[in-house]
């Protein structure tokens, strides 16, 4: 998305303005964001861009909303809903899937941590299942843990 202030650069930051419970968003580029920040902390006294004015009215709270825009490629959440396409790896923040990857892991990735956490999670789940005497389910979880341990050992 193009920056709504300079209308030139790619926007990668989403600012949210709250005025009396009314939410307003603006997508801006890093250059405009830093100018806005300068203005905000008072290092620049004259108003650089009339667009800024609406943001500095009394009673507004300003914050950056990282969920609304991909910080790397500038795709907004709304654009994502239309395109259903990842423009870069960070667009993954928009993916809304209950299903989690369970397959090959790049060897040079710091994935070990993830597997270790997953094993911990499953082990605590296993304890609960055994306490509740759900042995069939427990057996499945136990096998999954065994599989996961296999993965993390292979990786070493």
């Amino acid at each position: 998305m193009i920056c709504q202030i300079c209308k030139k650069n790619e926007a990668t930051i989403c600012m949210v303005k709250m005025t009396n419970n009314k939410k307003d968003t603006v997508y801006i580029c890093p250059t405009c964001a830093s100018q806005m920040e300068d203005q905000l902390i008072g290092s620049i006294n004259q108003l650089l861009n009339p667009m800024f004015e609406t943001f500095f009215k009394a009673g507004n709270t300003l914050e950056i909303d990282n969920n609304q825009i991909c910080p790397t490629c500038g795709q907004t959440k709304r654009e994502w809903q239309e395109s259903n396409t990842l423009n870069c790896k960070d667009c993954a923040q928009f993916i809304d899937s209950e299903v989690v990857h369970n397959g090959k892991i790049p060897k040079n990735n710091k994935e070990e941590l993830y597997v270790i956490n997953l094993i911990k999670e499953k082990e605590s789940h296993l304890k609960i299942l055994i306490a509740e005497e759900k042995y069939e389910e427990a057996a499945i979880i136990r096998d999954e843990i065994k599989d996961l341990k296999g993965v993390s050992i292979d990786d070493k």
Binding site: T85, L86, N87, A92, I95, H101, K104, N109
Partner: protein, 351 residues
């Protein structure tokens, strides 16, 4: 001209009477680059050049063997079309070939597409039903690439791809099958339905809307996340084996109930190839399909015909394949006139 025929046509694998080939494709992206549709032409060329260096390094070659890089911009239109007919590049890539490339192994059974929908698409082909070996080879190339590029990978969603339908494993298995009896008896409808409910799809081999063309079909997995690669593979293999059993049963019934009708249409197909003066790809492939069925049922022809000859026509009967066979470029009218000779020469019809 890149006029070699790919190994996956050699009919040497398992179930080669019904399964033509098996393919595995892995979709991968580099994590510090925008995905191809958002890259500048310059960045795309940089990635192609970097791949060129990668494949010439000895540590890469040690894992994958000799590979060569072709830049699609530098090929003739005919060569690009031939790559499409050999199923090495996609239609999308043929139409938008700028700043794209393909890395080919020596026998073309392994390849890497550069800057298609994703930065890398690793493809591995085997003849017959052999997804397992195809996966092993694709994995090997993936492991080798991974040492040179850091992949876009998400701890929850796995390998990231530009289209969300490929995230997770990024793996697509597909099996090309010859299913004449099921298409004649209408049995494909049921198969399509039950495959779909299990997350698999069946399509005409020559792309969307080509259902029935030469009775060649492609069956592949639809979902790529949540299940391990080899589990997806085993699931598909199981379904393929069921389809093979059904096709064989349909063939038996068909030949038992309509012995003379079947012999009649098969020998007419042979006669058609023998005596036609003009021949389209579609007509030629439909005749080849019937002859293939006859060969499997033990019918004899003037000269012995084997699956390898029949398979080679899948590629050679198409426009670029035909021109490559005769070694010259031809207008559509010339191609129609030359096609009967191609079929007769390959199948040794009429001496």
């Amino acid at each position: 001209m890149i006029n070699k025929l790919p190994n996956w046509l050699n009919a040497k694998g398992n179930e080669s009477d019904i399964v033509i080939s098996s393919r595995v494709r892995l979709a991968r992206n580099v994590d510090n680059l925008l995905f191809p549709h958002r890259m500048t032409a310059e960045d795309k060329d940089k990635l192609i050049d970097s791949i060129g260096e990668t494949i010439s390094s000895s540590s890469f070659r040690k894992e994958t063997g000799e590979m060569k890089l072709l830049k699609l911009d530098e090929l003739s239109g005919l060569d690009r079309e031939f790559l499409l007919e050999k199923h090495l590049i996609s239609l999308n890539m043929l139409d938008n070939y700028h700043n794209r490339g393909i890395v080919l192994g020596l026998d073309e059974s392994i390849s890497i597409l550069i800057n298609e929908e994703d930065h890398f698409r690793i493809q591995s082909f085997f003849s017959g039903l052999n997804l397992k070996d195809a996966l092993v080879i694709a994995d090997r190339v993936d492991d080798a690439l991974e040492k040179f590029y850091s992949y876009a990978y998400h701890e929850k969603y796995g390998y990231l791809t530009s289209c969300p339908t490929n995230i997770g494993t990024g793996v697509r298995f597909s099996v090309m099958m010859h299913l004449p009896a099921l298409s004649m008896t209408g049995g494909l409808k049921d198969i399509q339905r039950s495959l779909k409910s299990d997350g698999f799809v069946i399509r005409g081999f020559f792309g969307e809307g080509s259902e029935g063309y030469g009775s060649l079909y492609q069956i592949s997995n639809q979902f790529t996340i949540g299940v391990k690669e080899d589990e997806i593979m085993l699931g598909l293999e199981k379904r393929i084996n069921e389809v093979i059993v059904k096709e064989k049963k349909s063939r038996e019934t068909l030949f038992k109930q309509k012995t003379y009708e079947m012999q009649d249409i098969i020998y007419r197909a042979y006669g058609n190839l023998k005596y036609s003066v003009l021949l389209t790809t579609k007509e030629g492939m439909n005749n080849v399909s019937l002859i293939r069925l006859g060969v499997e049922r033990g019918l004899t022809f003037d000269e012995h015909i084997d699956y390898k000859q029949l398979n080679s026509l899948i590629v050679l009967a198409q426009p670029a394949g035909l021109q490559s066979y005769f070694g010259k470029s031809m207008s559509p009218e010339e191609r129609e006139r030359h096609r009967p000779r191609l079929f007769k020469e390959i199948l040794k019809i009429g001496g």
